[in-house]
Symmetry: C2
Subunit: 484 residues, 2 copies
């Protein structure tokens, strides 16, 4: 007979049978109760511990269910063999140390000019909340499993919107809804052939996703007409990731003849060459009418996959992106992802579907376009005032960012300028950080200023502070270079 040392606490919130279960399980795992030993009878253990027989029975049943004990009819409970507890990597008495968080970057950010920023005050939160609430109240069916490609109502609304505003030609069956560009791109990549070309400078995230998906990336230079199709054709790339409406980060728009050339590149090897058209912020074109999409020029079964997101047009915190596949890629898609679920909640999808269908989306875009255009104009004027001939601006016609290029001699590297700005509370990007193969090909002293999240009233003080900071940085660089 074993001597159990269970200390049971009747005042605890944990039921007595569970306390007893834990205590015995602990002794068995620790090896204190040897395998094969017979456990005390229920009645005698209950007496010894001053608990009811039911309590002991509950604990024994749980121990048996979990394999600590075996019950033999008319004989009792026996301790089962329990493998020595393995010593596990990193097992210590204190919790393991977490990897250090990224080092703090400097003083608080006073002006945030990140390129992903949008003006959240423009978002019609009340309308969105009302639509979502109505769906939660009236459509409990949306709690069940949905179509993995996305809600049909949303895909219909998107097909109509894309045809009207972007010249995209597709049936709703060709649309895949997913939780972000990176997610959709990683699902798409395995369906496409060969190495991938990315714009240089371009989106580092597209390169990361393509490389993570096992697609080696070739870097294709960008000129004043966007991606160089000549350089693309000279590479071995089979897939071309491109931002024709508003090249990121230079801001140039690919002119129609270049678009036709790019489509020609793909058309020369049908089924073996593809274009991924990322149309991420084509909604915000201020001075001329937007060019229709490449997808529309190529047709519903052409070599173009169209990719876009509501991260800019609505808000980055709402994770809905979408992709239009050529018809002939659909069977491969359905086969490869036959057991995958969708990645966007159904209520959010249906909310967006109604938001588009009932006209809120285009009204929101029109309102946003006016607001962003005014801010763009105000910021450009403020920068011109503050910098005068010391800087030139470009990439003003589209999207939510512009380029500021310092003129003069002894301009420090743009990363040094961005770091100096950061120390002055201004968060912005160096153009060279978007160069795929290192900064050597980058024109000197160019900064990328996103104004989506910038307060209108801050345009002038920002421009003054930035001019002041950058002039000091240039003077310091000049002094140190002349002292050498």
């Amino acid at each position: 007979m074993l001597h159990l040392t269970a200390a049971l606490d009747p005042a605890s919130q944990v039921p007595l049978y569970e306390q007893l279960y834990r205590s015995i399980a602990q002794e068995i795992s620790a090896g204190a109760l040897p395998a094969g030993a017979r456990m005390p009878g229920k009645r005698s253990l209950a007496e010894a511990l001053s608990v009811s027989v039911n309590t002991v029975d509950g604990a024994y049943q749980m121990l048996a269910a979990e394999g600590y004990l075996a019950s033999r009819p008319r004989s009792g409970f026996y301790v089962q063999e329990y493998p020595a507890r393995p010593v596990l990597t990193g097992e210590t008495n204190r919790p393991p140390e977490l990897p250090a968080a990224p080092a703090p970057e400097g003083p608080p950010v006073q002006y945030d000019l990140s390129t992903s920023g949008v003006d959240t005050r423009l978002f019609p939160a009340r309308t969105w909340a009302r639509l979502q609430k109505e769906l939660l109240y009236t459509s409990p069916g949306l709690l069940a499993r949905g179509d993995p490609q996305g809600e049909m109502e949303l895909r219909q609304a998107l097909a109509g919107y894309l045809e009207e505003y972007r010249g995209v030609r597709c049936a709703p069956e060709q649309i895949i809804v997913g939780a972000g560009i990176e997610h959709l791109l990683s699902l798409l990549a395995p369906l496409l052939p060969g190495p991938a070309a990315v714009e240089d400078p371009g989106y580092p995230r597209a390169r990361q996703v393509l490389e993570n998906s096992g697609r080696p990336c070739r870097f294709v230079p960008v000129d004043e007409g966007g991606l160089s199709v000549a350089a693309l054709a000279a590479s071995d790339a089979a897939v071309c990731y491109v931002t024709p409406s508003h090249q990121f980060p230079t801001g140039v728009t690919m002119p129609a003849p270049r678009r036709a050339e790019l489509l020609g590149w793909a058309a020369r090897r049908p089924g073996q060459r593809y274009i991924i058209e990322d149309d991420y912020d084509s909604e915000f074109r201020f001075d001329t009418r937007p060019l229709p999409s490449l997808q529309g020029m190529a047709g519903a079964d052409g070599p173009v996959v169209y990719l876009s997101t509501v991260a800019r047009s609505l808000a980055p915190g709402i994770r809905i992106a979408y992709m239009v596949l050529p018809v002939h890629l659909l069977p491969a898609w359905r086969q490869r992802y036959s057991l995958y679920s969708g990645t966007v909640g159904r209520f959010e999808q249906q909310t967006l579907a109604r938001f588009i269908r009932e006209g809120y989306f285009t009204r929101h875009l029109a309102r946003s376009r006016v607001a962003y255009k005014a801010r763009r104009t105000a910021l450009a004027a403020a920068l011109e005032d503050a910098f005068g001939p010391a800087a030139s601006l470009s990439g003003l016609h589209t999207g939510l960012h512009l380029l500021l290029r310092l003129r003069g001699k002894n301009i420090p590297p743009d990363t040094a300028l961005a770091a100096a700005a950061r120390q002055a509370g201004i968060r912005l990007s160096a153009l060279s950080s978007y160069y795929m193969d290192g900064p050597s090909a980058c024109p000197p002293g160019t900064l990328v200023l996103g104004y989506g999240a910038l307060d209108d009233a801050l345009c002038a003080p920002l421009a003054a502070a930035l001019s002041d900071t950058l002039k000091k940085a240039c003077t310091a660089a000049s002094a140190s270079s002349s002292s050498v």
Copy 2:
């Protein structure tokens, strides 16, 4: 001088300058206006078309911006070279034919016993809607870009919940929030070594995701204690995907000694062997207390990645899953996915965080557990009544499905039984469809009945209809075999 044939319609909603732009762009793309040709002067074209000079100027500026025309100072606008329009794959006058939708499966479904179903009537839609609306009204900051690993408030709430109810030991920094198990598993797979073991029978979707991620899969048999660790150890697998709390689909729970053995397998090769613990519906354990997670036995930096979802505990239509990484995998994660955004909307994440923090989640689970247990008991009783000794039930203690196994001779293949049921309006699964290597190893005549979405009142009629249908299918099979 060119003869332009622009037919402008002043009554159209399209502005005149845009009509003119379209008309000229069309002629240039079609080759009707040769490269190098000088365009008519603005004033003379305006007169010829009876429009204002501004209209012509607007159209010319757009054409120049898009590369159709070039402007030469003091000379005018000239047609640019435009590559012949490429003939693209699949380009025809009619839209391409879409691949046929999956064939209709049979008569309308009267009883849906899919394993992914949940009872959506249990979902506290009003509370959820209220929390979400409050956040939309009060927290516009959530519209901006969020933490790619997930909202810290949600990860804190999950860490607390998982520690208390599942014995998971982790810091919030170890949690990754993502839009579904498949999504998280595809991000995880590239960080882990070698071939992967999956349970056989098991989740086909886990196998598909692992194989899509380039991990060859080994099939490890399941016995009455769950995955066979002996078979696992005999394979070359470096990763083991396992459902220890409630093996899918057999419903068995892995006893404590087997768990220790499994951890021992991983511990023998630290950093080279990993366990992926999918704890998908451990919330619904009816008859005994849930076993603590493998992750908790292994510790915060052990070889276990813990994976779960709210698809069962809340609803499949809400796409929130989460994963707990061992501390030592965090640096590799952060490096590989440094530019990826999160995949769950921030409002949904914060809604779930409040839902957990304010106690709604555990109350919902307690209420659901009672409802599902009652339904499980009613369904089991109805099936026993209807089938009598002709069938046995298993997998009753946990989760939202059970196994029904027909007894007797000449039982048809379970796929034939499932097809017969489907023809009678009952959707359920054949156990053999979860066997990885074909149905040969599968015990005959076993069906998987999910009761999450089943109406309580339908338990008895379903059992009667199912018994009727399956008896007829057996009789028919018996008659055809005796006639041979």
